[in-house]
Amino acid sequence: MKRILVLLLCIMLLISSCAKNNQDKKATITIWHDKEDSVVAILEEALSPMKDEIDIVFEKKSSLTESLKLVGNDIKNAPDMFIFAHDKIGVYAEMGILAPITDFVSKEELGKNIPLTVEAGLYKGTNYQMPLYYETLLFLYNKKYMKEQDIPSTTEELYSYMQKKTKYGHYGFVEQHSTPYYAAGWIHGFGADLTDKEGNPLLATADMKKALSYHKKFVSLMPGETEYATVNTLFLEGMAHSTMNGPWFISAVRNAGIDVGVAPMPIVDETALPISPYCGIQGIHVLKAHANEKKDEITKVLRALQNANLEISLALATGCAPALSECYEDERIRSSEVVMAMKDTASKAMPMPNMPELDVLWSVMGNLLTDINMRNVDVETACSNAQEKALDLIKAMR
């Protein structure tokens, strides 16, 4: 009797485990990111309708770029997708760990986004990113000190404002002057750039030298430190009347009780070009590791993320601008001063280059800026040294 019972029990367990196995065909999609919890919550909510079919796991990785390099194509440990800015696409594509996004979504579907955002994810003719939102730097000013009529429309106006107001611990304008990402705005304002389309460095062109000498004039009226803590604190305490910063800063500014205004970037008198900073497009990328086996699930997730409502919520939460063109018909977006200012500045901005060469260029550029702004090295010498250094390092990359 006992034996029969035991046998029955085993058979039941077997049957139920088989049944469970049939039901358990739910796939899991792992997405790595380095975003704030609030952003992830929005993404998870947008994907919740799918949770019966697909288990979506968001994993925050603080050193995402290094972890991706380590994990490579390792099937067991690589994630399926990751959310990050577009500038590392070149590195990962050359390494061979990225799958083209067009394997999953068609070019038409990508075309629903603002062209600028789609171009950013293009490397050697292939699209690797589906954009979600983008950000760039804005000209912020403290309404208490900088009045309507003071808002500079050209850089010379900014300079005279700085000359008048930079005293007794106050600064007319502050920025991270020796950080390449910020200084790039000034460089583009002179028509120069860090590299050309092929990745050759352009650090010693005449325009670059003009830009850096001109920029130095402004740096002399700014504090010596270039790092973000000083610059941001000066603005937050009301000691700096204006600054150039990203949307991430705005909530901190509002919390500090400052009546902040957003203005278009001043135009460089000499070239009639505005200060055009780089912009970063945040999007989702697919890794090769599981691209084939999970093709359907990945496609479903991608389509679900290309959702206007989702991007609007993301934009409002982060202060960045959504990538889908249709979002701009929405009242919520049109009424957000910050988002519309972002779109305006971004339309004149250029996406960061996504070539692998940029890795070394950021470092060389940083040194070049430090040399000119903080060590008072003469512009000619500094630029030609930097150009040589950049060429050496790029050669060393191969």
């Binding site: 590195v91 950080t179 070394v360």
Partner: protein, 290 residues
């Protein structure tokens, strides 16, 4: 020294050797192997053997800038080690004086710099203490000196931070060493009429040497390889301070490691490794360690 057969010795120490072999020696072998390939961004998985090409290219890194970096590193290590040894010895000796009731409390408080994660401490020093507009130092002194912007100023500040980070360890080692010296030696010395300094020189220091020897050598090498302190305080892109000070490792980082060319970087690592070993051999002709 007891004589035992070699088999048994290696058997007993085998577990430790296996762990060390896996985690410490294997990476060195792997690096050596990669230095002969062209593993970089463009050949991440499909790299080939390129023989000595990386070593040829590596020699280009060893230019005048590298020589300056070597000199700076040697100076940096010497200054840091001397100050660490002296200050740790003084503090550890004082900690061991009879009758100091709050000894445990002081010792624990002095260990705090070592207990807090390094990258946070360095950040706090850089922005909280040395910052030219808001740092504590300038707020107290009422000045707005840019401490980190000149090479000399930056070196002094980095030394202060490095000492702050490294002294707890040295104090702990010295303290352990001092505690192991047989008290009877001091007693007989006092009977013989020796004063404090005499006791320190003739008893304490010779007895300490074998115990703290290994820790000192390890600290010398670690100080030689300093990266964090110098880089995070002065050279990190986006928060550079204007000083251009480089140790061997920060120099090679900026000139080679950031290229993501692992074959090339491995060749450089191997060369530096050999240089350090030679350096150690040369300076060790005189002193005997064990």
């Amino acid at each position: 020294m007891m004589k035992k057969n070699n088999m048994r010795a290696y058997l007993v120490s085998a577990p430790a050797m296996i762990f060390i072999g896996l985690i410490v020696i294997f990476p060195i072998i792997y690096t050596f192997f990669i230095s002969f390939t062209n593993m970089n961004t463009y050949h991440w998985f499909n790299y080939d053997f390129v023989g000595l090409k990386n070593y040829q290219n590596a020699l280009l890194v060893f230019d005048s800038g590298f020589l300056n970096a070597i000199l700076y590193t040697v100076l940096w290590t010497a200054v840091n080690m001397i100050m660490q040894l002296i200050i740790a010895f003084v503090i550890a000796s004082f900690l061991n004086i009879e009758g100091l009731k709050l000894r445990r409390l002081y010792k624990t408080l002095l260990m705090f710099p070592w207990a807090m994660p390094g990258y946070i401490s360095i950040l706090i020093w850089k922005t909280g203490m040395f910052n030219s507009s808001f740092g504590l130092l300038n707020q107290w002194l009422g000045t707005s000196i840019r401490w980190l912007s000149s090479d000399l100023g930056a070196t002094i500040c980095c030394t202060v931070v490095n000492l702050w980070l490294a002294l707890p360890f040295m104090i702990m080692i010295m303290d352990g060493g001092l505690k192991s010296i047989d008290k009877s030696l001091y007693e007989s010395a006092t009977i013989d009429g020796a004063g404090c300094i005499r006791k320190a020189v003739s008893i304490t220091i010779p007895c300490l040497k074998p115990i703290i020897g290994p820790a000192v050598v390890i600290t010398v090498f670690t100080t030689f390889k300093t990266f964090d302190v110098i880089y995070l305080l002065t050279q990190q892109v986006g928060s550079q301070t204007g000083a251009r000070i480089h140790t061997i490792i920060t120099y090679t980082y900026e000139n080679a490691f950031i290229t993501n060319n692992y074959g090339y970087s491995s060749a450089i690592s191997i060369i530096i490794f050999i240089l350090l070993i030679l350096f150690y051999e040369m300076t060790n002709r005189r002193s005997k360690l064990c």
